[in-house]
């Protein structure tokens, strides 16, 4: 009998929401793995080229955390399941945790797992306890599956950099929405991030439809740690990078990257306040630009700002936990185009393009809408289906430019479904004809 109960502060709920938004970029389903001391949320994309994991440390992230594994499994037992991210996001909504929103602000969130043989239904029960004595209870179905995690061999990733996440956040909006790949490269005391599209456009006219190619150059001095082989081009997906950086910025923490060479996985890793986030992304193998791998430390440029010595153990500890989190397994020596990943249970169905679309529509998205006052000058969207009708809300304070009359037209209703007073027809007209 597995038992899992934990409770969250409103702040933790908000952080959970941010993490879910970020994971949605990877997959439609979120995998949960509960262990004695921590809860891991992870998402693996359809192509299995991107994997996101958020390790929530029991005592630090949660108000209270209590997990009792099935007796047969012993102390190392764990509980794994998958839940659609849509369901979780509808529970952990964005602005729900804003204390300024008096009535709906929540006080506490309690989650418990209902997975007992004597109960008919297995559910994850989430209770939002609000200020006004209101308790909202959500019962989510889950699928009990084995969760797979991406492996990343940090020992062999001899290139790394570390930078404040806010520095990255400043420029990710420059990358156009239509570009696919992001290349970064260290050269001449500078790191250049370039977003580009590989589509080869032949038709002369089509050239103009090519998206912008954007390059952002940062000084090596802006990095807190930079130890990378010069002129090594690492290419990942722009979309993933944007989602990760946007999330990292909400935690306001140091952003670390570990990588070896093109065609091998890369890992971004950061964390604060009991939330450890790591992303393992496949990098694109590119024969043109990659120089032959050189032995470590021969052509490496080391810029490392002085760090307080007492910080080092913390970093070490974090690395250890990260190591613990992913099972140790050396990657195959031959560079693969696919990284060694276990099979995920039921995979999501979102294609990348759908993901982008949903993200744009999502008002709670982490992506800052580039709303400017300039907006009012844009041509009015006349296709938004505005219809005339009466505003039944009698809310005279706010002028509403458009509203929808959702009532069914009375006339059709009377034909389709006669009211309770009307008599139902008893016979078909065609049947009557034969009677006389």
């Amino acid at each position: 009998m597995v038992q899992l109960d934990f409770s969250l502060t409103p702040e933790a709920c908000a952080r959970l929401h941010d993490a879910l938004i970020c994971m949605k970029n990877f997959s439609d389903v979120v995998a949960l793995e509960a262990r004695q001391e921590r809860l891991t949320l992870s998402a693996l994309n359809l192509a299995k080229s991107g994997y996101a994991s958020f390790v929530l440390q029991g005592p630090e992230f949660f108000d209270s955390y209590n997990f009792t594994p099935a007796p047969a499994a012993g102390d190392n037992g764990r509980f794994t399941c998958e839940i659609t991210s849509k369901a979780l996001l509808s529970v952990f909504k964005g602005r729900l945790f804003d204390p300024r929103k008096g009535d709906t602000a929540i006080d506490r969130c309690e989650v418990s797992l209902q997975d007992r043989p004597n109960q008919a239904q297995c559910r994850l029960i989430i209770k939002m306890i609000c200020d006004q004595g209101v308790t909202k209870t959500y019962r989510l179905t889950y699928e009990s599956v084995e969760v797979m995690h991406a492996l990343f061999d940090k020992q062999n990733a001899n290139n790394r950099w570390s930078i404040k996440s806010s520095y990255l956040r400043e420029f990710i909006d420059y990358f156009g929405p239509k570009t696919e790949h992001l290349d970064f490269c260290f050269e001449d005391h500078q790191v250049t991030f370039t977003s580009f599209t590989e589509k080869i456009v032949n038709a002369n006219r089509e050239i103009l439809k090519h998206p912008l190619q954007t390059a952002v150059t940062l000084n090596a001095a802006d990095f807190d740690e930079l130890s990378a082989q010069a002129q090594l081009h690492i290419t990942i997906s722009v979309k993933d990078f944007k989602a990760i950086v946007s999330h990292a910025e909400t935690l306001r923490c140091q952003f670390n990257a570990f990588f070896s060479r093109p065609g091998r996985p890369l890992q971004f890793q950061y964390g604060s306040g009991g939330m450890e986030c790591s992303f393992t992304l496949m990098t694109i193998q590119d024969g043109r630009t990659a120089p032959a791998p050189v032995p470590a430390n021969t052509h490496q440029m080391q810029t490392r700002t002085a760090k307080k010595p007492e910080k080092a153990p913390a970093v070490q500890e974090r690395a250890n936990t990260a190591k613990k989190a992913s099972a140790q397994m050396p990657p195959p020596p031959v560079p693969n185009t696919r990284k060694t990943l276990g099979r995920a249970g039921t995979s999501g169905t979102a294609t990348p393009s759908q993901g982008v679309q949903q993200r744009n529509l999502d008002p709670d998205s982490l992506f800052v809408q580039q709303d400017e006052e300039d907006h009012q000058w844009d041509p009015a969207n006349l296709d938004e289906g505005e219809t005339l009708g009466w505003d039944a809300s009698a809310d005279n304070d706010a002028f509403q430019p458009g509203f929808k009359d959702t009532a069914t037209p009375a006339r059709t209703a009377s034909y389709e479904a006669p009211g309770p007073d009307a008599l139902e027809p008893t016979q078909r007209m065609s049947q009557i004809k034969g009677l006389w």
Partner: protein, 340 residues
């Protein structure tokens, strides 16, 4: 072929491209020693013929080409605007024509310098979480002042197509008869919100009856030489109109009109001035054009430039809008609208 310039007025350039981006996807840009012309000729709708003096947006302007130092380009407006948008906070921005992978691009190089202390949006909160970080920053302020500045360089490559002179020889600004009425338009935000409202109303009433939403409603815009402008919409069910009075009818410059003083005396607008009244109640003396509601909404987006807009009405034929950038009287940006 060389073109290189630094952009001195990024905000204006950005707003300008934003306002023409709604009217067409691709602009013909003609660069020469003195001015930059943007021309948009969509298959349907409003044409834009804009002229910007080079000093309005550029400085340190260098241009060279075999064709009398004239360069003709086809530029995707949306990409250009997106690139300019990323330059809004720049300390400096340069644009040059170059080739990358044997494809011509307009390369926009944007330098942004930010200061560590200023940029740390999370300065206070991170300091709370992590006292070490604050110590780090404090020491860098005290002892290592050179590292405080952070310089970021962003380059945006806009794909372009170079046009040869023979390609553009056939493109001419449309000629139009002398206008019957010319008038300075009221603040465009008023005009835009009212006309958008009208268009929506007409669309709604139309879809209520026939469900044919393909054809857009026609707005009727009329003006007289006594400072009156009337915007109206007529459907089977309704007839609404808005009237502005007390607007300016600028005087014509004899030097610009064919025939000088004599030409003005016989000018259509002089005859129109004799008709109608300043309260707009008289039915005489109006020049009227019917314009596509959606198209008009797109044209109105030029209002973000907050320029002075003169509308020239050729009764039942065409409407031409001249937009003058307010900061510089000489540099005019005539957006020419020809809808009948």
């Amino acid at each position: 072929m060389r073109f290189k310039a630094s952009i001195q007025n990024i905000n204006t350039f950005n707003k300008f491209t934003a306002s023409i981006a709604s009217l067409g996807a691709v602009a013909w840009v003609r660069l020469d020693e003195n001015e930059i012309r943007f021309t948009i000729i969509p298959e349907q709708g409003t044409q834009v013929w804009a002229v910007l003096a080079k000093d309005t947006i550029f400085e340190q302007y260098t241009i060279q080409s075999a064709n009398n130092d004239v360069i003709n380009l086809e530029v995707p407006v949306v990409q250009l605007q997106r690139a300019l948008k990323s330059a809004l906070n720049a300390t400096s921005a340069n644009i040059r024509l170059t080739k990358k992978d044997s494809l011509p691009v307009l390369c926009l190089t944007i330098n942004t310098v930010s200061y560590r202390t200023g940029v740390d949006a999370f300065g206070a909160s991170s300091a709370r979480q992590d006292p070490d970080a604050m110590d780090d920053r404090a020491s860098s302020v005290d002892f290592n002042s050179s590292s405080r500045e952070r310089e970021t360089i962003v380059t945006q490559d806009i794909p372009v197509r170079v046009l040869s002179q023979s390609n553009v020889d056939g493109i001419h600004e449309p000629r139009c008869r002398e206008p019957d009425v010319h008038i300075q338009l009221p603040p465009l935000i008023q005009l835009k919100s009212i006309s958008d409202r009208f268009t929506k109303l007409a669309l709604a009433s139309k879809s209520g009856t026939s469900g044919n939403s393909n054809s857009t409603p026609r707005l009727e815009l009329s003006a007289n030489m006594h400072g009156c402008l009337r915007l109206s919409i007529r459907t089977d069910a309704m007839n609404i109109s808005t009237l502005w009075t007390g607007l300016q009818n600028p005087d014509l410059d004899p030097a610009q009109v064919e025939g000088g003083e004599e030409g003005i005396r016989h000018h259509a607008s002089t005859r129109m001035r004799e008709l109608g009244s300043a309260d707009g109640k008289s039915e005489e003396g109006w020049a009227t054009v019917r314009i596509d509601g959606r198209d008009w909404g797109k044209v109105m987006s030029v209002g973000r430039l907050s320029g002075r807009v003169i509308a020239c009405f050729c009764d039942d034929h065409a409407l031409i809008l001249y937009v003058f950038l307010s900061n510089n009287e000489d540099s005019d940006d005539p957006s020419v609208l020809t809808v009948s």
